[in-house]
């Protein structure tokens, strides 16, 4: 809150350098207008942006990359859901799995673990096997699209790690899932444009 107000106040006063730095290289309202136009290189502009500005630019680029990496990471770790007592990949799950493929393809150092879960209905012991089958289904979907099987570990938790415990349809649906976790590596390469669909 406090910070925001101060930022607004500062930008209102707007010293040239600060403004130039904040908003990207507007033609830079030069402090030395009186000199003739013979000098082609707009040397005064960069100095005004120099240290702090470069830093801000770099930060911005970094921020953009971080956001893209975050987006890639959330695609890769997005949970997929299943129908009751099924391990078939639903249309919704297919879209989410498709979004994971380019992330894995571009970041070959990354390994993941797929954990299959079930709702609380069904037998506790049979559900361990069902969770396993769900993890296998997602792994197979990814390996069928060229991801190296050695990069994907699968485990099952059956109904032992629920995200909610109400005995209701809404909760059961949230528990019938595969969770995706990055076990090795960082997302370095990101390509945001066509990772969707």
């Amino acid at each position: 809150m406090h910070r925001v107000t101060r930022a607004i106040a500062l930008s209102a006063v707007a010293t040239v350098a600060l403004a130039g730095c904040r908003r990207k290289p507007e033609p830079a309202p030069a402090p030395v207008q009186t000199t003739p136009v013979s000098n082609p290189a707009p040397t005064p502009t960069p100095p005004a942006c120099d240290a702090a500005c470069e830093e801000a630019k770099r930060r911005e680029a970094e921020e953009a990359r971080r956001r893209a990496a975050d987006a890639a990471r959330s695609s890769l770790t997005a949970t997929i859901y299943f129908d009751y007592d099924r391990s078939d990949i639903t249309d919704d799950a297919r879209a989410k799995l498709d979004a994971k493929v380019p992330v894995l393809t571009q970041n070959t150092g990354i390994r993941i673990r797929i954990a299959g879960h079930t709702d609380s209905r069904g037998s506790d012991e049979y559900n361990l096997a069902l969770g396993q089958r769900r993890a296998v289904a997602a792994k197979r979907y990814l390996t069928d699209r060229g991801i190296d099987a050695g990069r994907i570990e699968i485990v099952s938790f059956g109904e032992e790690r629920p995200t909610c415990t109400d005995e209701a349809d809404s909760c059961w649906g949230r528990n019938r899932r595969d969770e995706f976790e990055i076990t090795v590596g960082e997302i370095t390469a990101v390509q945001t444009a066509n990772s969707v669909r």
Partner: protein, 438 residues
């Protein structure tokens, strides 16, 4: 009701060598050994006389409770009083008075230096039918002492009804809905005791001699690894099997082999390995990518019952112990929406208990006859799961939500009578031990 130990008796018991008198050469025949004549469809009335001595009330209460839990004996005048404490006296003794109370047999127990002297009287014949001295181990009211008394109850039940009781048994189970621990409890609900300190325990199963319990542990890296706990030394050992999912271990009746569930990318199937040395593993079921789990041996060790999803929905199958000749046991019609799982084979080989659920419903326990495949539903209240047979092939332990939280209950499969065994919430996956003392 249960009095503190008598120091005198305890001292006497420590000094006196404990004689194993009741492990006699030939067990009584499979018949009523004290000559009672009664309608087999009814439970014979038995009066347990008041027991003298400081521990007498405890002894009497335990014997009566065991008889009651066995569902084969009708305990008369349970709360005592109003009858003579000894059959002798009067012209024909006090037998007529006992007969008026509905007793066909009288159990007369007298503490001795080393244990308990028991006389069982046949009321109609107005005489003692059988006498025996039993040892009592441990301090009065200790676990060992109570188990010695349970073993006496079981023997007396054999004399009176022709079938050995199930009091001297325990039940292994998981305490905790998530990250549960392995517990063992006496058949009458006494001494719930944690075994080991692992969390995430699932699916305990008893060694046929009652010396070990096999179980699975689910960890932070998913399901599961199989362990075998030695109850005497309270140590456990991980079974050397392949990576991946390893769950629901069961001992073969010979005690040397464990069959368990192993899951990899080509499905979840039953495998076998040696229980106590690092033997090879061998595949049993060939499920081709389907789920095959929760094995249960036939008592002769020649067949296995298990849950399989090979038709889409979980159903109960039986096969030879090596996995050949798999056969659908539970009925299946095209489009059947039922879900049947978790078989347990009765020790007499006649029945398989399992749980069954219809969409929108709750699990109920059923038995299916191996002779004619007739199905009998045992429960209807709450969700009822994980049935495990008692050694008498008549009672079952199971988990149920019928009183709110998941608890363990015992049901008599013949009468439907049930009792609650545990009172702490989140209890599941029970397994009834073999007879532990006789």
């Amino acid at each position: 009701m249960i009095r503190p130990a008598s120091a005198l008796l305890a001292a006497a018991m420590l000094i006196a060598p404990l004689e194993r008198v009741f492990a006699q050469a030939t067990p009584p025949p499979e018949a009523v050994v004290i000559g009672l004549t009664y309608d087999p469809g009814t439970k014979p009335g038995v009066l347990v006389l008041r027991v003298p001595g400081a521990t007498g009330d405890s002894i009497r209460a335990i014997l009566q409770n065991d008889f009651d839990n066995g569902d084969r004996i009708n305990v008369v005048a349970k709360d005592g009083g109003g009858f003579p404490d000894t059959p002798t006296g009067g012209r024909n003794g006090n037998y007529q008075l006992y007969a008026q109370l509905g007793a066909l047999a009288i159990v007369q127990a007298t503490p001795t230096a080393s244990g308990l002297h028991v006389a069982v009287h046949n009321v109609a014949q107005a005489k003692v039918a059988r006498v025996m001295d039993f040892p009592l181990d441990g301090e009065p009211n200790s676990r060992e002492w109570r188990r010695s008394l349970h073993a006496i109850s079981d023997e007396l039940e054999l004399w009176i009804s022709g079938v050995r009781g199930i009091a001297a048994t325990r039940i292994a189970y998981v305490q905790g809905a998530r990250n549960g621990r392995l517990y063992v409890i006496d058949s009458d609900g006494a001494f719930p005791t944690p075994i080991g300190n692992e969390s995430g325990v699932m699916s305990p199963n008893w060694h046929p001699k009652g010396t070990h319990v096999a179980y699975a542990v689910i960890g932070s890296r998913g399901c599961c690894q199989v362990y075998v706990a030695d109850l005497a030394s309270a140590t456990s050992r991980q079974l050397a099997v392949g990576a991946g999912l390893n769950s629901t271990p069961v001992f073969a009746p010979d005690g040397a082999v464990i069959v368990y569930t192993h899951g990899e990318e080509d499905g979840t199937d039953l495998f076998a390995t040696t229980a106590f040395d690092r033997g090879p593993t061998r595949r049993i079921t060939v499920g081709r990518g389907t789920d095959n789990t929760t094995p249960a041996f036939s008592p002769d060790g020649r067949k296995l019952a298990f849950t399989s999803g090979r038709l889409g929905r979980p159903e109960i199958y039986i096969s030879d112990a090596d996995g050949t000749n798999p056969e659908l046991l539970t009925s299946y019609n095209f489009g059947d929406q039922n879900y049947r799982a978790n078989p347990d084979w009765s020790p007499d080989g006649r029945l398989i208990a399992f749980q069954s659920i219809l969409p929108g419903g709750q699990f109920q326990l059923n038995t299916i006859s191996l002779r004619d495949r007739s199905v009998k539903q045992l429960t209807s209240e709450g969700s009822n799961e994980d049935a495990s047979w008692a050694p008498d092939s008549r009672h079952l332990i199971f988990s149920s939500t019928r009183t709110g939280t998941k608890q363990l209950f015992v049901i008599d499969s013949e009468s439907g009578r049930w009792r609650q065994l545990t009172r702490n919430g989140g209890v599941r996956l029970p397994a009834w031990s073999p007879p532990l003392k006789r």
